[in-house]
Symmetry: C2
Subunit: 418 residues, 2 copies
């Protein structure tokens, strides 16, 4: 791939506190990795070709830490339900369609195209229980050039017969996919027990063993809804908390772990999460669509917990992570009605979560510091409005009012994908 | 204009409880007014031309009951502030630009185009204090064909000098605009004291007299933010409540009245609102962007109060009323965390607020019953996804995931405007 040089108004968040704005600057990329940002190009690059994006903004591509590819067709539907009913009435029937690879190929292609269109460069994705269509999802994403962790879902109880796996088969098929798809540089397997209620203790333990054997990351759901938390307590009466169920199975930080939601957490769990480096995924749109609650994200961050953002499609109704940034800020503003001392998230903090914060799960991803993967989107706006605004305002305006039409180019590790 | 016949999948809400779906039906329109809906066209229309929209949805155009045209450029900016600071730091300086009619003409044209693009057929609009540019707004809206109430803002205190009016001049100029623009069938004047804190008692009383003299409607803001409510109490110590300030000036239901927000209301005020037929405007996006709070809309509706929806651009960051519908539903789901008995708004209820509910302020607007103005949008979706869905699901999907690209035609009183 060699050397590439891009020019534009470069904006990123090296830390949650800093919105770094490099006006009319050059970003030099070597083999897909950022080498440096220069207002004036050093002499050694003097004759290199520059892709000049003019007045446009160059931002890190988004990182979506929690999304269900098989629920893409469901966006916006059935949202008059809360979690457990929504799963059984809407989601399980929809996921059962993925037993058909022809259906899956079309659905996953549309999903991948939309993910890229919306400016997501990396995603942590739940497929379904179906081995063959999960394999197709790996292949489609590889072909499109996006970065992802992809998990075949495991579940062997508390779900309809048409989605219930035999425990052994679930493990075998998971391992087969790991072996088949483990070697790709950008699209990689992740262990994906759906959530504690739909997995037997035996299944969870076996998945934990796979995580250790192949040194693979883990993703699941945690404490999204009060009824769910109560249910886990009933199903695992010997475990002190929901988090302990995962921890005792080797699925809670023993390898890199993502837990979606994490709204209703005890002090013990917050300790386990922090001590084991578990990353929580805040999914604000989903949390209000399913009336789950508001994650006290500022409080969790204040306790030293790592957190990123997820679209959680289909309970969230859009793959646009710019909207997850806005919704996270909006919900953090409502926290003051529960806790008068709660301070809202700033735009920099929420954008950090959607880029470098979540990107850390992939390595050096989500920033434009030296050594980071050049995952980027190029953003333009109506010059009749943007022309009157500062660069920081243009950035805010894109997050709040922009959509995929404002994204004119998308890069993952230096390669243009859209 | 004569007779028009449209065919498609017609969906509307004759009441908040009923989502009426007329699959593959005809809607007959006479001189811009709905004559009837027929699955099979009666014989008398047998040879009339039919505009066939095929599988597409035909929905009532949206009604935006609260929007600031001069804040359109501000969408998404400065939202790390609450109401009073946002006004003084961002909004007042932005509105001052409208002293320049050249600037105003461009800004208002962009605003009107976007309003139409997003499927709004009718809007209740705040301009600024500036007479000349407010006049331009009347003219631009007339030309574009949208229906609107337009108000020159009045304020004579508690605002920067560059926006402060002399009381007498404020009244004179308001009356001049009423006389100049009072005769148009679709774009009409409305009295628009900004809100109690920025109007002297003398100004409020004089505006009330104009309302009576010309029998004109009134729009303002009410109880959006706790600090604002406290401020009104300090400014008008002799009035028992914020609502009484307006009521005592003849600005609270003596003529048709819209009050935006209405979050923090006392029992006395709820009584005044109901007894005087004041219409409250719920602006959910604005209320979370400025951390104002959540309007207990279901509770207010249960007390017999009329309410519609508003985009409240620029504190709300989008003119798309489909998004106001979704945000109203989402916030109503969060009410359960404040009041365990609160029931969320259904899609039909929220859509009703954004069409027939708000439309009642304009007369027979916002529905497709006989005698209603044919204000409509035609909606299409990706057939690869929509083709699998019921009509009700397609409707839900448009509200949650659609945008202006899904709207392929827009009508106001039978005339195509976009």
């Amino acid at each position: 791939m060699g050397q590439q040089i891009f020019k534009g108004n470069i904006i990123f968040t090296p830390s949650p506190e800093e919105l770094k704005i490099c006006a009319k600057s050059h970003i030099v990329v070597e083999d897909g990795t950022v080498e440096g940002i220069y207002e004036r190009l050093p002499e050694k690059y003097g004759h290199a070709p520059v892709k000049d994006y003019g007045e446009r903004l160059i931002l890190p591509g988004f990182v979506d830490l929690h999304v269900h590819a098989a629920q893409f067709y469901q966006c916006g539907l059935g949202l008059d339900r809360e979690l457990i009913d929504w799963l059984s009435d809407c989601t399980f029937p929809a996921e059962s369609r993925f037993s058909d690879p022809v259906y899956a190929r079309e659905a996953y292609s549309l999903f991948a195209d939309e993910l890229i269109r919306q400016g997501t460069a990396r995603a942590c994705i739940f497929a379904t229980i179906h081995k063959e269509s999960t394999g197709l999802l790996f292949e489609i994403l590889q072909e499109k050039g996006i970065g992802a962790f992809v998990g075949k879902v495991n579940m062997d109880r508390n779900c309809p017969g048409f989605l219930r796996e035999e425990t052994e088969v679930s493990i075998e098929e998971t391992e087969e996919l790991i072996i088949q798809y483990g070697g790709h540089p950008l699209v990689k397997p992740i262990l994906t027990p759906r959530f504690a209620p739909s997995c037997s203790g035996k299944l969870l333990a076996a998945i934990g063993e796979l995580a250790e054997k192949y040194n693979l990351p883990v993703q699941s759901h945690l404490a999204e809804n009060r009824r769910e938390v109560e249910w886990v307590r009933e199903l695992f009466p010997s475990r002190p908390t929901y988090s302990d169920v995962y921890f005792d199975s080797g699925l809670f930080g023993q390898t890199p772990t993502l837990m979606a939601h994490g709204i209703y957490l005890t002090d013990r769990e917050l300790g386990l999460i922090k001590d084991n480096g578990v990353v929580l995924v805040h999914c604000p749109e989903s949390n209000i669509n399913l009336a789950s609650g508001i994650m006290p994200v500022r409080k969790w961050l204040g306790r030293g917990i790592r957190a990123g953002l997820g679209s959680d499609v289909g309970a969230g109704h859009t793959l646009a992570m710019s909207k997850a940034v806005v919704r996270a800020i909006q919900l953090s503003k409502l926290m003051k009605f529960f806790d008068p001392w709660a301070k809202p998230l700033t735009i920099a903090e929420a954008f950090y979560m959607a880029t470098k914060g979540g990107g850390s799960f992939f390595g050096k991803v989500g920033s434009f510091e030296k050594g980071y993967s050049f995952d980027a989107i190029v953003v333009e706006d109506d010059p009749r409005i943007a022309g009157r605004l500062s660069l920081e305002e243009q950035f805010q305006r894109f997050l709040y009012t922009g959509d995929d039409r404002n994204i004119i180019a998308r890069f993952v590790r230096g390669r243009q994908v859209g």
